[in-house]
Symmetry: C2
Subunit: 132 residues, 2 copies
DNA sequence: TTGATAACAGTAATGATTATTAAATATTTT
DNA sequence: AAAATATTTAATAATCATTACTGTTATCAA
């Protein structure tokens, strides 16, 4: 462990925040997490939510995704996956597309750019919104 | 033309903003555009830049892209393309990957989601930053 | 040319996020 | 187990990007 690493003690708040994100499928926002836990932990502060989200990010336990114009959303799914974003209601669903790297390896072989990861989002209308 | 449609008059400011975005390859931010045009139009206001960016978006003349944690960037390239984002210096480069839709058409054929467009961003280290 | 209204500059307001601080809580040491 | 030490918390203030408001100016059709 390097000198710069911080040892995080456990806290009820952080545990609850993580559990909530892990249980949700719809990539909650900070304010949504705050409102959801407010009932169980009335003293909870929005700043605490943000601080703990950053700690969880740093620990690699969650991911952050932000879509144009909206606030950040958080996700406890660590495996590589992609998103379906409804442009009507803002709902975010996950999809898994295997072998995405195949398509870019070829196209990028003459570019001098070292790719560490990628992100692929699909925008459109979800089933629910299409119905009404 | 529907009653709700607005007729846009031409304005020097909006034209300059659009020209600037079109000439740049590096997806400028609102504040960068503002600073760049300030010399030519000293009276320019940052609010005017934002308002006109939104009008240009509405007209479909530019696109908006925002990468995690940073401010929005704008792009006058309307054709479908993808991004290479350097995680060190924040530079954004374009790449064109043909036939991306092939990989998801198959994976999504049982999902009831109507895709209108997609976005694919690659993160990593650019040539310049790799050198130093 | 003129009347209607979009666009302007300037500024205030908003919304999301981060920083600060004193008090509460968790770990380590005695 | 109690004291010492370090971290987390809640509350609040600060910051940054973006949008809304206000009074003035510019555009354009009649």
């Amino acid at each position: 462990m390097s000198v710069n690493d911080v040892v995080y003690r456990k806290s009820r708040q952080r545990q609850k925040i993580y559990d909530l994100i892990k249980d949700m499928q719809n990539h909650p926002t900070a304010i949504w997490i705050y409102n959801s836990l407010k009932e169980e932990i009335p003293s909870l502060s929005l700043g605490t939510v943000y601080r703990n989200l950053n700690i969880l990010l740093e620990q690699g336990l969650i991911h952050k995704v932000s879509f144009d114009g909206n606030c950040d959303r958080f996700d406890a799914r660590i495996e590589s996956h992609h998103h379906l974003i409804c442009e009507k209601c803002g709902a975010v669903d996950d999809i898994f597309l295997p072998r995405v790297s195949d398509i870019y390896k070829d196209a990028l072989k003459d570019k001098k750019f070292k790719i560490t990861h990628h992100r692929m989002d699909f925008f459109g209308i979800c089933e629910k919104c299409a119905k009404k």
